[in-house]
């Protein structure tokens, strides 16, 4: 019993917070939004701090659930991201009618992701995946007055259901072929190539492809990102994608490790397609959220290169990149969410001349974009370099050259925004934004994070040591 509490403490804390929120919602006393928000942010902070205590290794529920320091750290990365998003959306939620519900849904998905990261069994994994996706669709609908928001939610739920279907079909094929569902048993049984195994694998891969929005499974991404509230968009693009990537690495390296040489080529093509299509579509975007949606598709292409490395360094670089990506993307979304909450403006044209009125916000957004583009001294440079380095370990320099040239394309559209902010004249620039200190704090953390995590090697080496320990 004691072991249960220690191993599952991160999940239990989240559950506890959900219950506290439920209690607040149902209590007869009317809580003001601001009080609720302060309380939640404090709770999330405590949750993050608690995540670092007593990292332990162990299995529960007959090998269905496993935790170790690496998984605990991955969950903490997600905790950090959630806290940052919560701080950033302060201005938006302050006037919203359903704050406790929003956080209940948010934390339910987070709980689902935690179980997903820890799952060692296909059923557990599927259950956790559903727990993490269905509340997300409800969250996408949280701009209650906007039609686009409901449209986004609807697209999200349909495409998620479809992806889950594919995944489930793949799992059932694998089960039919091997009679096993736990990761370790599957990994042992899948020794030779048989058509059924490969078919099952392809379906599972497609399911994952949907969730990480790799091309050609990306079509839902841009519409959902554009329609959903900014807080949900940033959650989708950073936290939810990060969690799936963590699991993806685990599944590939435990269940399908034998098929390494064949999924290498699948991921190779997926990655090239994802980078090129993501980049080319990002060039044409006018809406900042759509723009970041396509840019995040392109980023996934880079992450896939790290996974194709199939090495310790490759896996480390994926987790490291997700950490860096959280800082960079949340810095960008933080600025966008502030501007959108205060002025409602979301297109690149609106951002023209931003530097005149909001120099600090402009620098934050510019740094975030540089980090996404992989320009030093921001951490994005290190993240991308290590991903490419891991990919080069396979000796495929064509892939590295394609990726490097994609970095040039991506620089173009990131600089387009920078150019609009710094250089283009505008008669009606966005007025000077007066923000609460909480979103500012979140932005400051992001900026410090994206400067420090690269220049100081601590984060990378910590992740590396966790992988070695694993």
């Amino acid at each position: 019993m004691n072991e249960f509490f220690i191993l599952m403490k991160q999940e239990l804390v989240i559950t506890l917070i959900i219950f506290i929120l439920l209690f607040i919602k149902l209590s007869s006393k009317q809580w003001s939004n601001e009080k609720v928000l302060v309380l939640i942010n404090v709770l999330l902070l405590l949750n993050l701090a608690a995540g670092f205590l007593f990292p332990d290794t162990g299995d529960l529920f007959g090998d269905m659930y496993r935790t170790n320091p690496l998984m605990a750290f991955e969950k903490n990365i997600l905790n950090l991201g959630t806290l940052l998003i919560s701080l950033q959306s302060y201005n938006w939620l302050k006037t919203h009618k359903h704050v406790p519900e929003f956080y209940m849904l948010l934390l339910s998905t987070l709980l689902g992701m935690f179980f997903m990261i820890s799952s060692r069994h296909m059923l557990m994994f599927y259950l956790a995946l559903e727990l993490s996706t269905i509340p997300l669709a409800a969250m996408a609908n949280f701009d209650l007055e906007k039609r686009r928001s409901s449209e986004a939610a609807f697209k999200m739920i349909i495409s998620s259901a479809f992806a889950s279907g594919l995944l489930l079909f793949g799992i059932s094929l694998l089960y039919g072929a091997t009679g096993a569902l736990s990761f370790s048993a599957l990994g042992e049984t899948l020794r030779q190539y048989s058509p059924l195994h490969i078919l099952g694998f392809i379906f599972v891969l497609s399911g994952f492809g949907f969730k990480i929005s790799a091309v050609p499974f990306h079509l839902w991404t841009a519409d959902v990102y554009e329609g959903a509230p900014v807080a949900v968009t940033s959650y989708l693009s950073v936290i939810s994608k990060g969690a799936i990537l963590f699991v993806f690495v685990t599944v590939l390296s435990t269940v399908f490790s034998v098929y390494g040489s064949s999924w290498y080529f699948m991921l190779y093509f997926l990655s090239v397609l994802t980078m090129i299509i993501g980049n080319l579509f990002a060039i044409r975007q006018q809406n900042m959220k759509r723009f970041l949606a396509f840019s995040s598709i392109a980023q996934v292409g880079f992450i896939l290169i790290g996974i194709t490395g199939q090495s310790l360094e490759g896996n480390v670089s994926v987790v490291y990149f997700v950490l860096v990506y959280i800082f960079s993307n949340l810095a960008a979304f933080g600025v966008i969410s502030l501007i959108s909450a205060v002025t409602g403006k979301e297109t690149i044209d609106d951002y023209k001349g931003l530097y005149k009125t909001n120099p600090l916000l402009t620098w934050v957004l510019a740094l975030a974009l540089f980090s996404l583009a992989g320009i030093p001294p921001t951490a994005g440079f290190f993240g991308k370099f290590f991903l490419l380095l891991a990919g080069a370990g396979q000796g495929n320099y064509i892939l590295i050259a394609i990726a490097a040239l994609n970095m040039v394309i991506s620089l173009y559209y990131y600089l387009r925004v920078v150019k609009a902010m710094f250089m283009d004249p505008n008669d009606h620039p966005i007025e000077t934004i007066q923000a609460d200190w909480k979103p500012k704090l979140a932005l400051a953390i992001c900026v410090i994070g994206l400067l420090i995590t690269g220049l100081a090697s601590g984060a990378y080496q910590y992740i590396y040591s966790l992988f070695v320990l694993n």
Binding site: E313, F385, L411, Q461
Partner: protein, 498 residues
């Protein structure tokens, strides 16, 4: 002398600019910072010379090595040889002059000086780096400040030029990146993988790998140094940039490429350098002639200097590709000489433009009567550019020609003759531009009221002219400094042939 100081000093200067208010304070800090850099570079030179004379035979001295990403064996490794010290001196001179020239930068002065000083830090880091990752880091650090400097403070079609420059330089670094990752994985065959330049140079990379990686690396760095046909960012970028940024771009930034071609591509992959040398020589010769003839057609002073930069930096590539000791020495000398000369040219053009608000040769004329100091400096820069003995240009170009004459073979002869012939073309366009804009009657009555150079402009010009004259009159100073470095590179090339 700890080399880290040379990185910390610019960084502290740049950060110190941020909190202060007002142009006067900002430029005072920037000037103090750049003078400090100059002093520190000389201090580095002195301690380098004293270490060397005390009998240390290591190629690189004053080394600083810190583990950065230990698990990947990436180190923050700094160290200097004669070549890098020469490049650092060039950087220091150009930055001081650049700050002085931008003395009246009213528009967003804080950001301007911040970016300028930040750029200089990137250049120092690049020249001192002995680890390929560190080197690449500093190579890319410089891309964004250049973009912002041109895009915000530039003139003409500045956004277009800024974007073109940023993308082409990024493409260059992308190609370099492929080369570097390859070198990392093939440095592996005894012991661990490494990015350390000295370490890799002592291990022989297999020929088949060199053949793949060398083009990536050389072309990547070549884009930075205007290797034909990847030179197209140069004219637009240089002519749209504000004066100080043009000086930096042409004076230092293009040299990053030349230094990289020499230090990384040629030194680490000598066999491939041999194999590809004919192609590179052909490209460089085309670049020399094309640049020279294209300059003839230009009417804008900045475009004249930008296209002539293409021609002049192609000499650097030609010298490196010839792979003889004299030619490589010449290439390094040409980098320094061109850096000083072109920075001076852009500074003077900036001064003229500030007064007359035109850079069209046809609209200028008789400036000598109105602003004698500026005109004299213009003539000096011009004479240096066309290679008059006594100035640095002559020393450098002569050395390249002598070195390339050492290579026997029809192609090398043709390339050398083509290069030498381009000097005639250079004389034509320089003398024509000088004659039309400086000499003759005053073209516009408005010009009569213009003042000559202010003290800061005079000082900027004097700093650069002093550099040019020292190099032109006492070339042995610089040659003795860089010679051991090139000898080391030559040794590697010669031993790889056997």
């Amino acid at each position: 002398m700890n080399l880290l100081i040379l990185l910390i000093a610019p960084l502290v200067t740049a950060l110190a600019i941020l909190p202060v208010k007002g142009l006067k304070q900002v430029r005072a800090i920037a000037l103090a910072g750049s003078l400090l850099q100059l002093g520190l570079t000389f201090a580095t030179l002195m301690s380098f010379l004293s270490e060397r004379s005390s009998g240390k035979t290591n190629e690189f001295l004053l080394e600083q090595n810190f583990a950065w990403y230990r698990d990947l064996n990436i180190n923050f490794h700094l160290g200097v040889d004669g070549i890098s010290i020469a490049m650092m001196l060039l950087t220091a001179f150009v930055v001081v002059a650049g700050v002085l020239v931008s003395w009246k930068m009213e528009k967003m002065s804080k950001e301007f000086f911040f970016l300028l000083i930040f750029l200089s830090m990137g250049a120092y880091g690049f020249f001192m780096a002995l680890d390929l990752f560190t080197l690449f880091f500093f190579l890319e650090v410089a891309v964004i400040p250049k973009f912002l400097l041109i895009g915000i403070w530039g003139s003409g079609k500045k956004e277009y030029s800024a974007m073109k420059l940023a993308l082409m330089l990024m493409a260059g670094s992308a190609l370099v990146l492929v080369g570097l990752t390859g070198l990392y994985f093939y440095s592996d065959f005894h012991g661990t993988r490494t990015f350390d330049i000295v370490e890799i140079s002592s291990r022989n990379i297999p020929l088949g790998v060199q053949q793949i990686l060398f083009p990536f690396t050389f072309i990547g760095f070549g884009i930075f140094t205007a290797l034909f046909p990847f030179h197209t960012w140069v004219p637009d970028g240089h002519s749209s940039a504000p004066t100080a940024a043009s000086m930096f771009l042409a004076g230092i930034s293009m040299k990053l490429g030349g230094y990289g071609c020499l230090r990384v591509a040629t030194w680490l992959m000598p066999q491939a350098a041999q194999e590809y040398s004919t192609i590179i020589i052909v490209l460089a010769s085309i670049g020399i002639l094309y640049g020279a003839f294209a300059t003839m057609m230009q009417t804008d002073l900045k475009y004249i200097n930008a296209y002539s930069s293409v021609s002049h930096t192609s000499f650097v590539i030609l010298g490196i590709a010839m792979l003889t000791k004299t030619a490589i020495n010449g290439a390094v000398l040409q980098m320094i000489s061109h850096g000083l000369m072109t920075a001076l040219f852009f500074a003077v053009i900036g001064m003229i433009y500030e007064r007359t608000h035109t850079r069209e040769v046809a609209k200028l004329g008789g400036l000598l009567k109105v602003m004698p100091f500026i005109s004299t400096v213009f003539v000096i820069a011009g004479l240096c550019s066309l290679g008059l003995p006594g100035f640095s240009g002559f020393v450098a170009e002569m050395t390249v020609f002598m070195g390339s004459w050492e290579r026997i073979g029809l192609l090398y002869r043709i390339a050398t003759i083509a290069g030498a012939a381009s000097i005639v073309v250079t004389a034509v366009y320089i003398l024509r531009a000088t004659g039309k804009s400086i000499m003759g009657p005053v073209a516009n009555q408005e010009f009569n009221g213009f003042s000559d150079a202010a003290w800061n402009e005079k000082l900027a010009a004097i700093v650069l002219v002093a550099g040019i004259l020292i190099m032109g009159l006492a070339p042995f100073l610089l040659k003795d400094l860089i010679n051991p470095g090139t000898e080391e590179i030559m040794q590697k090339i010669v031993s790889s042939i056997k």
